[in-house]
Symmetry: C2
Subunit: 333 residues, 2 copies
DNA sequence: ACAAGAAATGAAAACAATTTCAACATAAAC
DNA sequence: GTTTATGTTGAAATTGTTTTCATTTCTTGT
């Protein structure tokens, strides 16, 4: 009546062997006589038997599934990482449970818990801040965790990033070389280590090296969306900034367009450099100068690292920093 | 030594009740005396018991997980759908296993099979063409399937779309009203029903209504990427097209930029209308005129439909068409 | 106070695999 | 031709729940 499923038991009976033997055949265990293997395979084929991964997961305590917590799939920065993650995951026969968190701390914890309840073999976390609660959950479970494009100063779990500090420093220096004195810096909340600790530090350092005094009026915290670009640009001109370092591409496009819509020439009258090198940076006119992050690779390497942790392999360095470059495109001279 | 997990059995023992009672408490079954419920809850809290979803899935034959097959998360059209899917899914306590297919028929089948092996309660498929093999798998398993932004002329499974034919017809008519005679049409392969059957039909119909003869030299099949925009634009000017209807936003941006980079004014000298209304359409200058598809809603409605199918609820209409509009933005007069 | 119906509980059987360990068969060694 | 080692196999336990069904405990009406 109900969906009559073929189980390993049916195959065993039909092939005249035990379930154990069928299991061995299915799992490629070499301790099976070739003739019986063939016989079992033939029955599997005839009955169209498909192993039940849930039962397998219960018995073996492995689900070949990893949880991926992402702020928003719709954000090109994160979706690029996600693509790298999924490709490597499927290369290693894992599947991905993807969950959007909106960077909401409560959702993050809640989602992490349901992933752990589902017995994922590992977790890749993308977000910004690792709250205490999150950290507690990480260590409570034995499940390996890797952060992608996300840093935890605590360094208790694996992580893959670039050196945001020097990348930002390089960005600012590019603008300094172009003669700017009033360079603004726009990122999300400084509560997040990537912004508040690393990027801001790089920004300050570059200014210091150029003997320009740090002016906190030039530093802004804003959400990462296209639509706030208008408002942010208004603030930038209010403080007479002539150039800006932006931590997110979508926001950078918003700022660029706000400038263009006001008849301001970019890069002649205003320069912009952004941080992610998502596809967006080449879609605007002028194209956006940017830090070139290896987005796909950050995801891919994070997933690869996770496979090693799940296999309990020896890890040389679980905090990895990938190389970046700076691409001067059209939004800087 | 190993990850010593607390099981329902531990809770039962500690609370002096049976596993069945603990199970009832955990699942909110009302047939439990308030005092024992309280006692059990207290033990659950004290031991920090978390139910194992895999065991639960095996026993109940429900995983509260749905599979989502997506061509590429990195494509804003699809990721927008995916976001709608995930939001509704989590609203109904489901998780999403996301798998990229690259629209590769072989991968699609393979991925579908691993999803079914993982006993997902339902599948949402985004792609283009439902091959015979895919269709066979769909009906082989009793697992409900809903197509999102994807049409199967067969209409055997649920689906959520817009009316691509009239949307395209409307798009062409907008350009006709602006006086164009040589309007090109660019989409992916005509093997896909959305393009070859519906959009192309709408294109032809609009021309016919305007008594303009159909010219197949004005019709192009191209992949949906930004970078081929250049090449496509070259072809468009070669056939003297003065306007174009594009089936994908990213490709449309590529074409727009190719035109702009050659000093062609849009919309004065060349008009473009695209089809998805992804964020990209507002990020370009000029902004792209477009068919306004309710992307998020397509995903959301698809997931909602799937929940009904999974619950075996009565469905009035499993082939749903959502409304669309046309937004004349900056790339048309 | 008692029968009858309802509510609360527990024992044990699924669920569909893997895994352990003992048993048997075969091959190699002497 | 034993003995020993190695290769194959199966029985049964295990995994952590849900679910069924029988049993016990309450209510309630008379």
């Amino acid at each position: 009546m109900d969906k009559q499923t073929i189980t390993i038991y049916d195959v065993a009976r039909e092939a005249g062997v035990s379930m154990a033997t069928v299991s061995r055949v299915v799992n490629g265990n070499p301790n099976v006589k070739p003739t019986t293997r063939k016989k079992v395979l033939e029955v599997i084929d005839r009955l169209d038997y498909r192993p039940n991964a849930v039962a397998r997961g219960l018995a073996s305590k492995k689900t070949t599934t990893v949880g991926v917590i992402i702020p928003d799939v719709t954000n090109l920065y994160f979706s690029s990482l996600a693509r790298g993650i999924d490709d490597i995951a499927s290369m290693y026969k894992y599947n991905i449970i993807l969950a959007n968190s909106d960077e909401n701390e409560q959702k993050e914890v809640q989602v992490l818990n349901t992933l752990l309840a589902k017995q994922v073999d590992g977790v890749i976390f993308m977000g910004n801040k690792i709250t205490e609660e999150l950290r507690a959950e990480f260590s409570r479970s034995r499940t390996p965790v890797v952060l992608a494009g996300t840093v935890d100063p605590d360094e208790q779990v694996g992580s893959v990033n670039i050196d945001y500090e020097t990348a930002t420093k390089d960005s600012v220096e590019l603008l300094l070389e172009n003669g700017h004195k009033k360079i603004a810096f726009v990122s999300e909340s400084h509560d997040e280590p990537i912004n508040g600790q690393f990027r801001l530090k790089g920004y300050k350092q570059a200014l210091k090296d150029a003997s320009i005094e740090y002016d906190e009026n030039l530093v802004f915290q804003s959400e990462y969306t296209y639509k706030v670009g208008e408002a942010v640009y208004e603030q930038l001109i209010k403080v007479d900034a002539t150039a800006v370092v932006v931590a997110d591409d979508e926001l950078a496009v918003g700022i660029l367009n706000a400038a263009l819509d006001r008849g301001v020439s970019v890069p002649e009258d205003f320069e912009i450099i952004t941080s992610n090198n998502s596809k967006l940076t080449e879609m605007t006119r002028p194209q956006l100068s940017t830090v070139v992050q290896p987005l796909y690779d950050i995801g891919a390497v994070a997933m690869r690292l996770l496979t090693k942790l799940m296999n309990k392999e020896e890890i040389d360095e679980k905090t990895v920093k990938l190389p970046y470059t700076i691409a001067g495109k059209g939004s800087t001279k």
